[in-house]
């Protein structure tokens, strides 16, 4: 069982406390933007997701814990978490991810 660091609790907690919540950094368009979007664009927002082999930015929910959503960079091949961070923080750059990795 994986241990996942919750950035809100600032603790490593067992995987069973968490639930996966899909790809991160997909911003919901506001009302005006929604109306300006074509059906195709809107469908893309709704349904199309990356299928990354490697480092993936994704959302997790500390469901059986502090109840907070947060973001994580996880390697989809090794299933290793590289970093977890709070919602609202910018998508990390490749350089930042590499830095986190070498700091481990």
């Amino acid at each position: 069982m994986m241990l996942i660091h919750c950035p809100h609790c600032d603790e490593k907690r067992p995987e069973v406390e968490f639930a996966y919540a899909g790809e991160a950094h997909i911003v919901r368009p506001n009302a005006e933007q929604q109306q300006a979007m074509s059906d195709a664009k809107w469908s893309e927002f709704l349904f199309i997701r990356d299928n990354v082999r490697g480092e993936h930015c994704e959302r997790w929910w500390h469901a059986n814990g502090c109840n907070m959503f947060f973001n994580a960079v996880r390697n989809t091949v090794t299933d290793k978490f590289i970093k977890t961070y709070k919602i609202g923080q910018k998508r990390p750059t490749q350089a930042q991810i590499q830095k986190w990795k070498s700091a481990k």
């Binding site: 069982m1 994986m2 979007m37 059906d39 809107w42 709704l46 959503f69 090794t78």
Partner: protein, 987 residues
Amino acid sequence: MSDFRRQNRGNVDNNTKVNFTFDGKTYSGLKGDTVASALLASGVHLMGRSFKYHRPRGPVGAGFEEPNALVTVHRGKGRMTPNLRATTLEIYEGMDVRSQNKWPNLKFDIGGFNNIFSPLFPAGFYNKTFMWPKSFWDKVYEPFIRNAAGLGPAPKEVDPDVYGSCYGHCEVLIVGAGPSGLAAALAAAKKDQRVILVDENARLGGSLLSSGEVAIDGKPASEWLTKTIMTLEAAKNVRIMRRTSAFGYYHDNFVALAERITDHIPNAQIGQVREVMHRIHAGQVILAQGAIERPLVFNGNDRPGVMLASAAQSYMGRYGVAVGKEVIAFTSHDSVYGAVFDLADSNIRVGAIVDARASVSKDLLAMAQAKGIDVHVGSVISKTTGKTRINSAEVYNPATGQKTKIKCDALLMSGGWTPSLHLWSQSKGSIKWDVETGVYLPDVANENCVCIAACNGDFGVETALNAGSKAGGGRKKYDVTEAEWGSGEIFDQLPNYITPKKTKAFVDFQNDVTNKDIILAVQEGFKSIEHVKRYTTNGMATDQGKLSNLNALEIAAKALGKEAPKVGLTTFRPPYTPTSFGAFCGYRTDDLFEVTRKTTIDPWAEAQGAVFEPVGVWRRAWYFPKDGEDMHAAVARECKATRDSLGIFDASTLGKIEVVGPDAAKFMNIMYTNPWSKLAVGACRYGLMLGENGYIYDDGVVGRIAEDRFHVTTTTGGAPRVYRHMEDYLQTEFPELDVWLTSTTEQWSVIALNGPNARKLIESFVEDIDLSPEAFPHMAVREGKICSVPTRLFRVSFSGELGFEVNVPSHFGRQVWETLFEAGQKYDITPYGTETMHVLRAEKGFIIVGQDTDGTVTPQDAGMSWIVSKKKKDFVGKRSLQRTDLVAEGRKHLIGLLTDDPKVVLEEGAHIVADPTQSVPMDMLGHVTSSYWSESLGKSVAMALVKDGFNRMDDTLYIPMPGGVTHAAKVVKPVFYDPKGERLNVV
């Protein structure tokens, strides 16, 4: 003492005899014996029949890798365990052991005819033969395969034993208590850290228990072992776990252990914990699992009496058992010489050592000569004889063509050693091919894990001890006197003068896979080892190929003309050894199998004799039968009583979420399709929630308790996901909104009172609330007291009758319920369950999300466009409702159906067609979603999702049923009872 027991050897208690039965016959062994060692001591090698050909088989190994000697142990009713390895089963007084896969008995087995016809059973036999007709699979092929090629029978009765489940934590977990594991534990124990040392055997020591003369730091190995175990047992930070298999290695050094507690104890009582599954989180894992000797693939290598050389040495070293009186060894590795010399010193006659290699070290040859053992260098075994036990082997020298028949009652083979990489590979540590030794070795670790000693390809006791000490963080250097380990050669196939057609050289003993099968698979086009494995079934038996995988790989690689690493290696998956279902379940059986959520009123319903149904994880009263009523009669009575006078219903399972904060109304506007800003305090509104994709997600009544406070209700099953959905939007899309969400489902008991007398009943119990219709209209909520306890009283109705939903703090639920029920007697108050609730709501056409909708239904499809705000700029799902596909013609619409024959109640889920005379497969328009007998209307009512349903009003559609009956039904609006809603206003 039998001729096969050596009194001065082994760790058995020579003074304590233990009697057990094997296939009904009584045998006696010694305390400390395994079933296999005790039977071998009695001269019995035949312990099982093989899977496919039913060939007689004896033990090949002496441990957990054993593929052949599988037995069933009976410990009383429901306590039968099949497919256990006789080589690891400790005997106890009265133990009942039975062989498997034989009929009528082990010595004469009818299934053995499969052996004679074995040319008919080549690789992929099942795939090729049992292909068609498809209908034969269930009735003919599968039963045939199961009968003819069975392992032990599966238990049919409930297992009465108790199993445990435990979590554990440590800084260092050591798997394997051989010399390296013990040395690692000694070193690690000296530090301030928790150490867990695990071994699958009853005795610690590993190879030290069976190796020949070894001295550690000048003392005999046995002395070192005793002292080490005492030291470790005395150390407070060390936990030693015997009879415990580390069978699974998961993420972040999470290792699963199965500990066997009672299987070696006579008369273990039911209630004693039989096995415990430990889930260990370890800081560091040290894998010291050793290596498994590799069989040689030669003609006749599966006869009882043919076994691994290390196994023969183990039987002598651990149990003082000679596996035969006259043995021959066949090898391609130096390590066999030491083992054979050890046996020769234990008074076993060694007829010959047959060495397949072209040359052997002079030292070994000299030592063999000194012991009077012939060594046939550059020779092989070309065939063996003996029906249920080997009685001779033929030595063949390909260079000279010379053949020599040698009598023997056991043949010891060794094709080198395979490091046990199972757990290492499960941890996703990478492996690399070692050309010199022809094995895979650990390469780069993925976890904080290290593989040491033989399991890392480093052999010898001194090497092991020093590797262990280092891995445990120590600096101690051990000084060991021992025989040289030496080296070996790998042979994918051994030369033979006999035509391959007439030979049988087994690679996988348990699944009866021969070298010819693997070559055939390659010839038939299978190039990946994963495919070869599945086609031939090599490595797919209960031993998971511990003995066979590398031999199969060598043979396949040779046949493909490739290097072994280019052909790959099959994936190692948990469990490392078969693990009982009981251990996985632990205590989570029967009542603890799944949580059953019950309301505080549930015990009252149970006492009333209610019949229950599961709704999600809730159990809810389904109906309350009276005087032997069936469901139909009970529901009809409950419906009538409710519509005529008064019904009482436990609605506590409704999901409830408290939405609070200055921005609560703004947030509600986002989450629901309809507007909330102008909802007055004290008023209620039905809310419809969509997913961002525009489909109906949930619904429920919402009451505004204060400007900044909403009491939201959800469907019973939808509560958790609605709460998550709300939290998700609040936290990630609208974090600027000042709102708090609290799940209050279990804080409130909800008593629904429905019927014309509902108000009259509560009048005398309610304080601080004006119940008059003017002051408290339909769809309103008031706070006050009922039966002297605080309440949020809702005037709402899911039945179409005058209705109140009494919310009281959960712990008052039953008290209030009983008070109301007693007072309601004068109105013939009738408790009803979920079935009546469904009938009443269906008569009104109220939908159940998830029953009348299926995740592809929009509000328009459900005929609920009225609830979708046109003014709000944004809500979840708004943009999707404008998508071309969602506004297209011809979508399925939710409509009502009235059957031509009013007595016919349609089946929910039944398909609907326009023309029942069309040919099959018919063009289906949709399906029935809800269907009930309505006692109030004297006819059946149904709702259905039907293609273009709104444009089919008054059309007749058809519902063809299995058996040729077709029902006709008219499309109507889905409101059957009191369409004007007048009954809500009963005064």
